[in-house]
Amino acid sequence: MPKHYRPPGKKKEGTAATFITRTKAVRNLQVTLPHFRKLCILKGVFPREPKKKIHGSEKTYYHVKDINFLMHEPLRGKLWDIKAYKKKIKKARGKKNKDMVERLLDRQPTYKLDRLVLERYPTFVDALRDLDDCLTMVHLFATLPAMESEHIQVDRIHNCRRLSHEWQAYISRTHSLRRTFISVKGIYYQAEVEGQKITWLTPHALQQVVTDDVDFNVMLTFLEFYETLLGFVNFKLYHSINVKYPPILDPRLEALADELYALCRYIATGSRTLSGNSQSGISSESEQTGNKKMNSESEESEVRLAQLQHQLPANERGALMNMMEDVNGADEEDQDTKECKSLFKDFKFFLSREVPRESLLFIIPAFGGLVSWEGDGAPFKETDEDVTHQIVDRPSLGRKFLSREYVQPQWIFDCINARIILPTEQYLLGRVPPPHLSPFVDNEAEGYVPEYAETIKRLQAAARRQVLPFPGLDPMDFSDPGSLLAEGIIDRAEANEAAEQRQKLLKLEQQYHDELKMELQGVTFSAVASKGNSQIPPAEDVEVEEGASMALLDQVAEDELNLSKVSMSRRQRGLMEAIQIGKERKRNKIELLKKRRKNSEANRKG
């Protein structure tokens, strides 16, 4: 805002001067609302919440500095240019000047977003930190159909697909995938790149439901930025593992929609050639076959070059060097990566037709396994003797190999989350697999541990040859839970437990005393037996007493709370109550889960 003379009494200071409504901002910037939206999205400008909403509470407020930031953005001028240019085209069209239209269409002004990417994310780590949304969006669009009516072009979909595969290939290559989770919404992946945990969601590989309550303009603007961002991020990542970035893929595999596999091979060869070594990998045979059909000349030559280098006879010294390097590299890798790298090291997987191939092709190599599938271009056939596991997802299978295990895809995901090889019995062909649990939940913090999580924990411990302490009784002094509670030494639940214990002990003691008394009085055992009915009321009494003491404990706890509340300020009391409500809600949720579990167990038995 330019400083100019303000008439007296019309001061603009404080909130009124620092925050501006959206309408005013649009007017100041002299752009249309859609352009403003686009600018905001691309520049990452978002509304702010002023302390006092001067122009009305229903309005959106932007910081004046943000708007000034947009004001100096060259993209704003570019958008104007584009708008004017479109008018030119329209005019030429109206005058039926065809070659003019053609010429104009040929040289439309474009803009680049690389500067904006750098501006928003000055360091690479910043970009990685914000990559979650970007990846989710790109993966979502990679599965969408191209729709001309919504201006979703085919090449953008292809670009998204390519970018997502490049990303996955990198993650798979560097073994930085950490967790996976199949949800109803899709498959979640969590990777760790440069210390940043990046989580993204890929939809299930099915025809997506396209709804009409979505404004694709907004989404496409976001996608525009995300595509650029992910392109640069991929470049940087590929650069870091010494691979040329826009990867040149084997067109044959590309045609078979195996871009991911093609990319993996590309990276593998690329990094190997650059390190000046040749190492016979799994894919060497198939690569030879892959040589035959290649379309474009330049690509062909480049790929061939790479392969030729790859097929050079192994130099003894070079191999030794490579081994040395491997050792060094292993030292650099952290414990986690090492663990991930070797999870499926000794296994060879084969995927049936019906399993989600892209996902598994991504995951299994990321954890060090070898994988093949049914179809052309696969590295090995189904009949391969060395296959240890075949991933199937169908009710039954006609012909089976005895040398391999037929497991459902969930096994892979569960193994990865548990970081151990789980026993396959429950995941075998045709069985209902055990519940698939989310790896993102901290069960201890949540307060409820599902049954299968406990099983997995035990298995993990067994794998590490550790012995878990059995959940037993702590040597606790059960002298007087009430008083302990009152002193604030133990919390309420513990107190309740202790009280129960004590009640039991008391009951036993009392019984003993009663019997002793009776013995003293000379009552025979038979008489006691006949008196059985009269024995019941005291037991009931004890129970009643027990209930009463429980109530008393509750009372003590409540009193404690009330007393502490009395001396709090109103603000603190409100906060306390809010905390308590939250806790109560959490407790209710857990109670509900426990109840349902009990019910389901009862159903299973009954």
């Binding site: 978002f46 509304p47 989770f181 199949i182 109803v184 919404k185 979505v214 940087k236 502490s564």
Partner: protein, 709 residues
């Protein structure tokens, strides 16, 4: 135009024929052309007047003839002759056939006889005939001549070609190169004599302009012929040095968007059974408010192949986009406070002992709610008044009921005289205040008391309109008859004066309601030694609730519903007015030091006033969920208590320091329970023992309890 074109075709056909002729023999065919030209037109004109089928028939036949036979007859002649050959059967002439629709004949022959129509076949017959005859499909009924015509194969071919839109004859080439029939060259006589226009030989100015424009555009680089080379789309954007990049970010401080919540167990495609809601629960979601309704209902699929595409995938992506660019972002401190840390740091309760914590004794005997208790100054005796119309005197330590006075009216309040040598009990029962001789103390004291409680009959007549002092007939003592029900009796510390409060009963004095806010007779002062009563206030604002004397000085506190007014009795003027901020004050107690005051209210709040500090509460304690009935200070220990309708009494530690800079310390100590709730309320009164840290509580369940440390 259309007609002309048709004719042109005919002409062309004619020409082709002509050419053939040329090929055959004579080049002199040229003069014949006009005749040829005219003949088909004539034919056509002629055929216009005739019936369609007839004309086509005749014409077609003639042309076929012509094609077949290569003889050089004139087609016009032939057509004439063909017409002559077969005379039309019909002689009605050129009139609509409709006119003869109902006639049996179709004209007359040359002899004048009727030409009969053929008998019409009916439909079945004609159908049967059609079925039998394999050539039936070729037959056409000629309505004009009333006869059936069978088309020949050739005719069928012609018709087919015509229907296809091609020339009827296969031999005819409609697109044969045109041969001009007029020789232009070297004739010297152009068709038009106009001179050649200038534009034919001068270069176009506009074209020139356009070319210049293009040239200029090319020169200036507006038109480029080769496309600009594409730069590599991606490059190393982030260099290696990350330190220098710190200053690059412009604008305001970036607030990263909060990451979306990660999926929990319930979002799994195959969650544990306990995460799946039952059908009833799902149904119950419908009854919830839309905000409370769970957004995601877990569902279980037996295997991965059964999982469908998520229908909200796009919507959720879009919502996230909207959140990212439309939601205001602010940094908010996450409330992750340990609730323990919220509790104020107070000294441990153990260090503040002794205080009443456990019920030690119960005084049983009353049959109605006990409204009030009072402890004698020595701490040996306890008096209690109940709504059952009795006042009882108890021995504190044993719980023995020493004496019962049957007053007959519900007792509101009892109060011992604060002087130890004058064990007189003041009790308010209905409209009266009784001063009772308890019969305690030695003989000398008894004598003094009886002397003090002696009232002459004449004394009552002095001030009849205020209060009448009279002898109590039954138990001895004095009965002060008031005009209204007395709620409170409080003694002055010296034991000579006492005050009574008569709050207006609002229900009974509805007409006087406006007046009642300025009731001057609500608070009265009585002097026992002189048996006198006087009204200290000319006017009194607000509804008086209770009145208390200052424990050391001659200061008088009157609490109205919202305020506490403090009067100096010697100067008889208002010293201070305390703003409680409460809705309705129910009780007041003064700290024995005299500078602090606690006020209980009917909304369950208790205010502590430090009168040196301010006229506003030093601390407001929200203790009880229901009305506070009474508050009390201990005379010597730093304790105070409140009793409430919710059947509890709270005990607090309330330390007042002699150092003026140090604020009073208030620590809640104990919640005393034990009274049962009844319809008359919970705990109606609480009083401390004068010497011990004991608390007496009077309950609506007609029990008095003693809580000891």
């Amino acid at each position: 135009m259309a007609k002309l074109k048709i004719r042109d075709k005919k002409v062309k056909i004619a020409i082709t024929k002509d050419k053939k002729k040329k090929d055959k023999a004579d080049p002199e065919a040229v003069p014949e052309l006009p005749a040829e030209y005219s003949s088909p037109t004539r034919d056509e004109e002629h055929s216009d007047s005739r019936d369609v089928s007839q004309s086509s028939d005749s014409e077609l036949s003639c042309e076929i003839n012509e094609v077949e036979g290569n003889d050089l007859h004139h087609p016009a002649e032939e057509s004439d002759s063909s017409e002559d050959e077969v005379a039309p059967r019909n002689t009605i002439g050129d009139v609509p056939l409709e006119w003869y629709k109902d006639e049996e004949h179709i004209g007359y022959d040359i002899a004048g006889r009727k030409i009969k129509k053929h008998a019409r076949k009916d439909k079945i017959e004609s159908f049967l005939a059609g079925v039998d005859d394999s050539k039936n499909w070729r037959k056409i009924y000629d309505e004009y001549n009333d006869e059936e015509v069978e088309l020949t194969k050739k005719e069928m071919k012609l018709i087919k070609r015509l229907l296809q839109g091609s020339t009827p004859h296969t031999e005819v080439d409609p697109y044969a190169p045109y041969v001009d029939w007029f020789d232009w060259e070297d004739k010297g006589h152009p068709l038009s004599n106009a001179p050649e226009p200038k534009r034919r030989f001068i270069p176009s100015k506009w074209e020139h302009k356009k070319v210049v424009k293009y040239i200029r555009a090319i020169r200036k680089g507006w038109i480029k012929f080769e496309k600009p080379e594409e730069e590599p789309r991606h490059y190393l954007l982030w260099g290696d040095d990350s330190t220098s990049a710190e200053s690059k970010r412009q604008g305001l401080k970036y607030i990263p968007a909060p990451k979306p919540k990660l999926a929990g167990h319930e979002e799994s495609y195959n969650p544990s059974l306990e995460y799946i809601p039952t059908q009833e629960e799902i149904n119950s979601y419908q009854l919830m408010y839309e905000e409370d309704r769970p957004k995601f209902i877990p569902k279980r699929y037996e295997s991965l192949r059964n999982v469908p595409a998520y229908e909200n995938a796009l919507k959720e992506g879009f919502d996230r986009c909207l959140d990212l660019y439309l939601c205001p972002r602010t940094r908010k401190k996450r409330i992750n406070i340990d609730p323990e840390s919220l509790k104020p740091k107070l000294p441990s309760r153990k260090d503040l002992k002794p205080y009443p914590s456990k019920c030690y004794l119960e005084y049983l005997g009353h049959s109605g709610p006990v409204k009030s208790v009072s402890v004698e100054i020595s701490g040996q005796w306890l008096a209690s008044g109940s709504t059952d119309g009795t006042i009882r005197l108890w021995e504190v330590e044993t719980g023995r009921c020493l004496k019962v006075w049957e007053v007959g009216q519900p007792v509101n309040h009892v109060a011992w005289n604060p002087l130890p040598q004058l064990p007189i009990l003041a009790a308010s029962a209905g409209h009266d205040v009784l001063l009772l001789d308890t019969g305690l103390g030695d003989a000398e004291e008894q004598h003094r008391i009886t002397e003090l409680l002696h009232v002459e009959e004449s004394a009552s007549t002095d001030d009849r309109d205020l209060v009448s002092w009279a002898r109590e007939e039954m138990y001895g003592g004095i009965r002060l008859k008031h005009t209204k029900a007395v709620a409170n009796v409080e003694w002055h510390r010296k034991g000579d004066y006492f005050t009574t409060v008569m709050p207006k009963d609002i229900l009974r004095t509805l007409p006087e309601r406006l007046d009642c806010s300025r009731d001057t007779k609500a608070v009265l002062l009585h002097q026992l030694s002189k048996k006198q009563t006087h009204n200290p206030f000319k006017k009194l604002r607000g509804l008086a609730v209770s009145a208390v004397f200052h424990p050391t000085r001659s200061i008088f506190f009157i609490s109205t519903k919202n305020h506490i007014r403090i009067y100096d009795l010697l100067k008889s003027k208002l010293i201070n007015k305390l703003e409680t901020g409460l809705q309705e004050v129910s009780s007041v107690a003064v700290h024995p030091g005299g500078d602090n005051l606690i006020v209980g209210s009917k909304e369950g709040k208790m205010c502590w006033f430090d009168m040196d500090l301010s006229s506003r509460p030093y601390k407001i304690l929200k203790t009880h969920p229901k009305d506070i009935t009474n508050v009390a200070f201990h005379r010597s220990y730093p304790l105070f208590a409140s009793s409430s309708e919710d059947c509890t009494a709270y005990v607090f530690h309330g330390m007042v320091y002699s150092d003026l800079n140090q604020n009073p310390l208030i620590v809640p100590l104990e919640i005393l329970r034990g009274h049962a709730s009844s319809k008359y309320g919970g705990v109606l009164d609480c009083k401390f023992h004068p010497r011990q840290p004991w608390l007496f509580t009077a309950g609506a369940d007609s029990v008095i309890k003693l809580y000891c440390h």
